[in-house]
């Protein structure tokens, strides 16, 4: 088992996990294009699921990447500029991946509600996924430049990027967060609000699946799921600002890694809630079957766990 508080172990994880977003996005896009060619709706749905799952998988990739950066600090023979350039490219790719995953989720939700995703959603996923594949490839290429001496000097090696996205670098975000005293408290407040909104949606949905509030059908309450995603969106943005603003508070903090692990599992659980046939069939008045109850209980336990580790960040592991 990797030691989550050990930077070298996290760096190792990064080298393992980074293949997922790079290859996974290409796979997802391939499936989507195949779906168009074959006019196969089921393939479209599968491609959306792939995009959502790969988006989930990208979170630990980014997190472990920052840890890997810290592990390499001061190491001779490794260019910190190359690492920073790769990290900035990766951040951009990560953000686009998250947006693509969200659009894909919306499509999956629409499959449930109206039998098919809207043209707008499908177009959005297509365009976004193409951009994401390109950004992932760029980030991956720059990652290779860090420690593969055999490719340096070749024509595919990335030079210093003077991107139009020069404003979106980890360094500039960190400066922004640390220089303005209102940023951190405001982000914390928004983080609490996003969490409350998310948990509210999870409560009403899962309490119904546990057998309370039988007056509503699951289909009725399924309608609220996008609100949960919006709550998560707030927390994703504010969470990124925390993480980029003060990574040293998180990369070696065991509580933070557990929080992310539980968050990933909660994300998987949420996908099941969105597309699961069983729960969808539950009418008003009906007692839910055991499978629904287990799904619901795990959703609630996982999200309380995420809150727990989040609140415990300053107390468990190394104190701030």
């Amino acid at each position: 088992m990797p030691n989550l508080a050990n930077l070298a172990d996290l760096a190792h994880l990064h080298l393992l996990l980074n293949h997922f977003p790079t290859i996974g996005t290409i796979l997802g896009l391939g499936l989507l294009l195949l779906a168009f060619v074959r006019r196969n709706d089921h393939l479209t749905k599968v491609s959306f699921e792939v995009f959502f799952l790969i988006a989930l998988a990208t979170l630990p990739v980014y997190e472990s990447g920052v840890a890997a950066q810290e592990a390499l600090k001061g190491q001779s023979g490794v260019s910190e500029t190359a690492i920073a350039a790769h990290q900035d490219a990766a951040l951009l790719a990560f953000i686009l991946m998250a947006i693509t995953g969200t659009a894909a989720w919306l499509g999956l939700w629409q499959y449930r509600r109206i039998g098919r995703p809207t043209t707008a959603t499908v177009s959005a996923v297509l365009v976004l996924s193409v951009i994401t594949v390109a950004l992932m490839a760029r980030a991956a290429n720059m990652g290779g430049d860090i420690r593969h001496p055999e490719i340096l000097g070749g024509q595919y090696s990335s030079g210093t990027e003077t991107a139009a996205t020069a404003w979106l670098t980890s360094a500039s975000i960190k400066t922004f967060v640390l220089e303005h005293p209102w940023v951190w408290p405001t982000c914390e407040t928004l983080h609490f609000l996003g969490m409350s909104l998310m948990f509210g949606v999870l409560m009403i949905v899962n309490l119904r699946l546990l057998g309370w509030m039988k007056g509503m059908s699951f289909a009725a309450v399924h309608r609220l799921l996008p609100l949960g995603i919006l709550g998560f969106g707030i927390n994703f943005v504010t969470g990124l600002l925390f993480f980029i603003g003060a990574p040293e508070q998180y990369t070696q903090n065991v509580a933070f890694h557990w929080k992310m692990i539980l968050l990933e599992l909660a994300g998987l659980n949420f996908l099941v809630l969105t597309v699961f046939d069983g729960a969808w069939m539950l009418p008003a008045g009906a007692e839910p079957p055991l499978s629904d109850k287990l799904l619901a209980a795990s959703a609630l336990v996982l999200s309380v766990g995420v809150m727990y580790f989040g609140r415990m960040l300053p107390f468990i592991g190394n104190a701030f």
Partner: protein, 155 residues
């Protein structure tokens, strides 16, 4: 008087103890209570504002119980947190503002409950009053949470 509250054994233990069961646990329970209370209130408010229109208005009663449960938990944990830091909290404007906002939030929830229960049987339509109450509730609880977070930054 506030200083003497800080001096009692409980306060000393809560802030002084290195145990994870002291301040960290009370704080986490307080956060849990907030999340549960605000989350449930938000669901009721959002339903009244038209989201999830397939949900029958009379079917959300469990959420009201959840709100009262969260409120009770936070009254207890909140008192503990106050007592341990009484001289600072007791003279804080932001703390007073937070308490007032919570009072507004509670009153609005009670009024919403009454509005949903008026007449006999299942409530059918959402009245204009209920919509206003829903917006007030959302704003009051959001503001209370904001004030609570700012306690760590402002006197």
């Amino acid at each position: 008087m506030l200083a003497s509250l800080e001096g009692i054994a409980f306060s000393m233990w809560l802030l002084g103890s290195n145990s994870i069961w002291a301040y960290p646990t009370v704080l986490t329970l307080h956060t849990f209570g907030m999340m549960v209370l605000a989350g449930a209130a938000a669901m009721i408010d959002l339903r009244l504002l038209g989201f999830g229109r397939g949900i029958p208005l009379g079917s959300m009663n469990t959420l009201f119980s959840v709100i009262w449960g969260g409120l009770a938990l936070n009254a207890v944990t909140g008192t503990m947190l106050f007592v341990a830091d009484a001289t600072k909290r007791g003279t804080s404007v932001i703390f007073l503002v937070k308490m007032l906002l919570i009072a507004v939030g509670v009153v609005t929830i009670v009024m919403i409950r009454r509005d949903l229960n008026r007449g006999n049987g299942e409530p059918v339509a959402v009245s204009g009053t209920a919509k206003l109450l829903a917006i007030t509730s959302l704003l009051a609880w959001s503001a209370a949470i904001t004030a609570g977070r700012l306690l760590a930054y402002v006197a």
